[in-house]
Every structure is written in structure tokens, then in C-alpha cells.
């Protein structure tokens, strides 16, 4: 393993921002894995740290295939993480909305450029990503519909679900989208947490990446075969909105199977404690996403359900 400085940025009052890469094996640029780009992505950082630990052990045992190089960048956004911010601490811009970056541009464009130069030529790109809506997901691989995405490759992670979503204008400046534009097969891996560590799903993510690398011939590693993933289009998920605002009490969690009409959550009056509404499942299916904050607004999406799917 070779530990190296990928990019650094001088700070006026703090230590320099140093983006560190861990390089395993050598030869063809086979796989690049990126962790916490945003400052709240603690789970993503933790997963990468565990992956680096496992890859270090595997490399010592000679388990990395000849002529294959793996680069892991555990964190880009730790300058923000260290002070409890989600986005770039100075101007609140999102590094994951600045790709492919611009060397002569603004600070976060320069950071994105400094990272992208090192990650863009790999055959496979894996990002541990997060979503802006507060909530938990079932672990899945997410891909954008760019015309060059491959769900059959995504299936090789062995996670239960592969989700394909249509790229929106705002997505065109993400790392995942730009990887695809630069001919890297890009995957975003979501576990069920972001700003807290969940050991179980972190372990699942590490195993999924090791399984994928093994199946692509990059690693020699014996692991459980995982799932044959169910492929879902995001637009086919049933969205469940709130009708009231108030205190939110969820009754069902991601991965659970639900029946049409079954209670999913309750919203109670924030002062009087009475139940304002009971949110019922609009379909049979498996819960893919659920809101996890203790309060909700009106018309918020609190559940996404994979229709007519059974455990």
C-alpha cells in the first residue's frame, strides 16, 4: 500500500486540507473508491477506513491480482467534517456539485479538479454517497441513467437492490455523472446511514466492494455470493407524502415488507399529543426509504416503497 497526497490546499488559519489516497497493487488503473466528499458523511468515511484496513491485509497476503491498481480516497470533505459542516466551510458550496472541476476556478472547483485528475482514468469508480433528504435507505447501488450505465455490472456488488434514476440537471456536476462521461463505470453505494456510523451496513458495504473487485478479477478473495439484485427504476417507487406536519413516529423501517393499508407512521400534534394522521401504505411492497427525523413538515416524502415486492 502506498499512501500519498492526492491534493492539498493551503488554508489561511488552519492546517492545509490534504486529500490522501491509498494505492494498492499496481499496473492498470482498475478501481477507484471515494468516501466522504461532504462533511457529514461519517458512515462513508468509516466504510472507507474499514476497506483500507481489509485491502492492506489482503495485499500483504498477495490477494491483489497482477497488473491491477486500486485507489481509495477515504475523504475529501474532512475540512468541513472537523467543524461540523456539511459543505465547504467557507462558502457552503458542495464539492459533489463541482465535478469535473476547474483548476483555474473557485476553491471547490479546484478541489474537485484536483481529485478528478487522479480518479478519472479508472475502469470502475465507486463512491459512497449520501442523499439530501433525511432518512434511511436499504443498502443499494445507485446509477444514473446516462445511456452508458450497466445494471448487470452493478448487480455484481451482491447488494439487494440496484436503483437506476434519471439524471437531473443538478446531477451533471456530481462525481458519479462525470465518471461516466469520462468512460469510467460508475456506481454510488448507499448504506442506511450518513452522519452516524452503522456497523452492520458498513460491513455490508465493505463486503460488497470486495465481492465486486473479486468478480472483476481485481482481487482474489472468497466471500459470500450476496444477493442477485432486484433492479428498480426510481420513478417506479411508490412515494408516500405526509398530509400533516408535527411529531413523526415511524412504525416501519427500510427493508420491512408491508401490506396495502398497513400503518407506516403516525403524526402527532406537537402540543397536544393527539394523533393527527396515520400514514398508511399505498401498496404491498418493501420499504426502500424512510424519513428519520422526529418532526416532519406537510407534504414531505416520508416513505418510498418498492411496489409489489415481497421479502
Amino acid at each position: 500500500m502506498l499512501k500519498e497526497n492526492i491534493f492539498s490546499l493551503k488554508s489561511p488559519y488552519r492546517e492545509d486540507l490534504r486529500v490522501t489516497g491509498y494505492r494498492f497493487g499496481g499496473g492498470e488503473k482498475s478501481a477507484c473508491i471515494v468516501g466522504a466528499v461532504r462533511g457529514n458523511e461519517v458512515q462513508q468515511l468509516y466504510i472507507c477506513s474499514q476497506l483500507i484496513r481489509r485491502l492492506t491485509e489482503l495485499e500483504e497476503r498477495g490477494a491483489i491480482a497482477t497488473n491491477h491498481e486500486i485507489l481509495v480516497i477515504p475523504s475529501v470533505g474532512h475540512h468541513s467534517m472537523n467543524i461540523g459542516k456539511r459543505f465547504w466551510a467557507v462558502d457552503n458550496t458542495d464539492i459533489n456539485r463541482m465535478f469535473p472541476g476547474y483548476a483555474q476556478g473557485e476553491t471547490t472547483q479546484r478541489i474537485a479538479d484536483g481529485v478528478f485528475r487522479h480518479v478519472k482514468d479508472y475502469e470502475y469508480g465507486i463512491q459512497f454517497a449520501s442523499f439530501y433528504m433525511p432518512g434511511d435507505f436499504v443498502p443499494h447501488v445507485r446509477m444514473m441513467e446516462t445511456g452508458v450505465q450497466s445494471t448487470s455490472l452493478a448487480n455484481l456488488f451482491g447488494l439487494p437492490y440496484v436503483v437506476v434514476r434519471k439524471a437531473r440537471p443538478i446531477d451533471t456536476t456530481t462525481l458519479n455523472y462525470n465518471w461516466q462521461m469520462w468512460d469510467t463505470n460508475a456506481f454510488s453505494v448507499y448504506t442506511n446511514k450518513t452522519d452516524t456510523v452503522d456497523e452492520v451496513s458498513a460491513g455490508q458495504a465493505v463486503s460488497a466492494v470486495l465481492r465486486f473487485l473479486t468478480r472483476m478479477g481485481i482481487l482474489r478473495y472468497n466471500s459470500h455470493s450476496g444477493y442477485i439484485a432486484t433492479i428498480i427504476s426510481e420513478r417506479d417507487l411508490a412515494l408516500v407524502h405526509t398530509k400533516n406536519a408535527g411529531i413523526y413516529r415511524r412504525l416501519k423501517f427500510p427493508g420491512e415488507e408491508v401490506r396495502f393499508g398497513e400503518p407506516l407512521a403516525e403524526i402527532t400534534h406537537p402540543f397536544e399529543g393527539t394523533v393527527l394522521s396515520t400514514i398508511l401504505s399505498p401498496t404491498d411492497g418493501v420499504i426502500f426509504f424512510s424519513h428519520d427525523r422526529p418532526v416532519v413538515t406537510e407534504h414531505e416524502i416520508v416513505y418510498k416503497i418498492i411496489r409489489r415486492l415481497h421479502e
Binding site: 490546499l9 493551503k10 488554508s11 489561511p12 488559519y13 456539511r86 459543505f87 467557507v90 462558502d91 457552503n92 456539485r97 483555474q104 476556478g105 473557485e106 476553491t107 471547490t108 472547483q109 479546484r110 439530501y132 433528504m133 437531473r168 440537471p169 443538478i170 451533471t172 456536476t173 412515494l239 400533516n244 406536519a245 408535527g246 411529531i247 406537537p270 402540543f271 418532526v295 416532519v296 413538515t297 406537510e298 407534504h299 414531505e300 416524502i301
Partner: protein, 311 residues
């Protein structure tokens, strides 16, 4: 007449409301043209607040001259303005990246859909921005090159110093202006002044410009002061000056100053060592139209922009 055009209940005893004030001619019969003035999408941009006040004062003073409908939306992001937050508090989301909205989407997207629906049908829209807390801008209209043929003639009527026709970018397709222009509402994006402050002279200048735009298009027949002929960017180069060092920036030139290539725009200093670490120089001859106001800079921070050529 004050109306609520979009609303959502918040968790505890409060409703998020987007309000507008409709000002109609004394003789409100028959079909009237409608102009919409929107601002406050970014909660740290306040120049538009004074414009809304002053425009209404002028309209009330000369109500008999009003020949069309004026809809004024002072606060598209009231939670942001009220909490000195650029984006939408709680979601850390740039509201100007979620238009035109989606009634089936999350709460914020449903809210922006209601706003878009209310603005649809306007004959003109002026979307007032105030840069951010870092940069001060000369009064200018920014136009996507795709809509230049329609919008440049209107921009010439609105009493700004500069019209910047910029390249199209996919990521900007989620802005309010792009969304409105796409549905046939000619929308001018005005950038002027600096975040978290009000520059009275610029506000008076823009109010005069809005009245002139209304007069030229049959919505006002009252008096209007002199209107500037703006410089159009397509005839001029734009030079960007970004910091390459970090430290404290002290500008030496003011907005509107004529400068030569190589002139020093300002200096980046290191307060700890007491040294100048960078002298920022103009890349071209021209006029300073953007000036950095916030002193702390990183590598990449924009220090200024210069509009090239003779004015």
C-alpha cells in the same frame, strides 16, 4: 392585494408562506399585461428587498400611470432570509436549483411548483439577486445565450450597466429563470450589489429601470428618469481574477474603475508573518465589475472580474 401563493405547514405551529402583493391599475378592466418582480430566493441577498419597497412606493405615488398588473414577490425563501441562510434552512439546499418543481416531489419541490404555477402567464419577470456575501457586483443582467435574442432587447431597457450573455450550462436548467423562460415568460436575472447589505444607489437605479421596462412595454405611462445604455458582454472579453494563495485580501480598486492589464487589483496578506503573499493583477484592460468584499480567501477565491475593452 396581498396573497399567499404557496404554503406548507412546518412541524410546530407555523406555516411557511410565500406571499405576493398584486398592484393593479386604478382602471382594472380588460386584459392587462402582467410583470412579476421576484427576489429573496437566496436568503443572504437583500438588495431586492429595498427594490420591492421603493418600487411599490413609486407605483402608489403615481397609481394613475399604472396600466398593467405588477406582482411583487419579495421573499421566495422566507425561512432563509429570516435566518440569514443562503439556502433553504434544514435542507441545506439551494432553492434556485429545484425549479420548476414537482408536485409529487419532496416538500420543497412541491412548493417551488406552486410558485412556478403562480408566475406562469406573466408577460415579464425580473428575478433580482445580490451576488453573495463575498462579492459586490455592478448592476447587471445575466442571460443564457439560448435566450439572448429575446432577452437582450429587454435587458437594455432595465437601466443596468452591463448585460452578461453567458454560455449555457445544464446545471443551470434548474433555476427559476431558466424554468420561466422555458414556459414563455421572458425573465431577466439581475445581479447587483453584495450579500447581506443594501446598496441604495443600485436599488434606485434598478427601480428606475423596472419602471422604464414597464413603460416601454405598455404597463406604465408615468415619468422615468434617465436610463443607461448597458455594455453587452458579447462585444467584450471578461477577465477573471482568482486568488492562488490564501490569506486576507485587501482590494485596491473599486467597482467601475478603469484599469490596465497588469494593474494590481488587490493584495493577499498573511497576518501571521506580516507579508504580502500575492498581488492580484488584472489579466486585461477594462472596467472592474466584480469586486471581492469578504477578506478571507483561499486558493481559487474569486477576487474580481474585469470587463475588457473601451467602455
Amino acid at each position: 392585494m396581498i396573497e399567499t401563493v404557496a404554503s406548507m405547514r412546518l412541524p410546530v405551529d407555523e406555516t411557511l408562506m410565500i406571499n405576493k402583493n398584486r398592484i393593479e391599475p386604478v382602471d382594472a378592466t380588460g386584459e392587462k399585461k402582467r410583470i412579476s418582480i421576484v427576489t429573496g430566493t437566496h436568503g443572504d441577498e437583500l438588495e431586492g428587498q429595498f427594490v420591492c419597497y421603493e418600487l411599490q412606493r413609486r407605483l402608489q405615488e403615481g397609481r394613475e400611470h399604472l396600466k398593467g398588473i405588477v406582482d411583487i414577490y419579495p421573499a421566495m425563501n422566507p425561512l432563509g432570509i429570516d435566518s440569514i441562510t443562503r439556502g433553504i434552512p434544514q435542507f441545506d439546499l439551494d432553492m434556485n436549483r429545484v425549479f420548476p418543481g414537482d408536485e409529487e416531489g419532496p416538500m420543497i419541490e412541491a412548493l417551488t411548483k406552486q410558485i412556478t404555477d403562480d408566475l406562469a402567464g406573466s408577460d415579464f419577470c425580473v428575478d433580482i439577486h445580490a451576488s453573495n456575501i463575498f462579492l459586490k457586483e455592478i448592476p447587471q443582467v445575466r442571460i443564457n445565450e439560448l435566450t439572448a435574442d429575446t432577452l437582450v432587447p429587454l435587458a437594455k431597457q432595465i437601466n443596468v450597466d452591463f448585460v452578461w450573455v453567458h454560455a449555457s450550462a445544464t446545471v443551470l436548467e434548474s433555476t427559476l429563470a431558466y424554468s420561466l423562460n422555458s414556459i414563455g415568460v421572458p425573465t431577466l436575472v439581475v445581479e447587483m450589489g453584495v450579500g447581506m447589505r443594501i446598496t441604495n444607489d443600485y436599488c434606485y437605479q434598478l427601480v428606475e429601470g423596472i419602471l422604464n421596462l414597464m413603460k416601454e412595454n405598455g404597463l406604465w405611462d408615468g415619468p422615468v428618469g434617465p436610463v443607461k445604455e448597458p455594455v453587452i458582454s458579447s462585444d467584450h472579453a471578461v477577465g477573471f481574477v482568482n486568488a492562488n494563495e490564501s490569506g486576507i485580501y485587501l482590494p485596491l480598486k473599486n467597482i467601475g474603475d478603469e484599469i490596465c492589464a497588469g494593474d494590481i487589483l488587490g493584495r493577499v496578506m498573511d497576518p501571521l508573518s506580516g507579508k504580502v503573499v500575492e498581488e492580484a493583477k488584472s489579466p486585461i484592460d477594462g472596467m472592474v465589475f466584480t469586486r471581492r468584499e469578504y477578506p478571507v480567501v483561499y486558493s481559487g477565491s474569486l477576487l474580481g472580474r474585469v470587463l475588457g475593452g473601451d467602455m
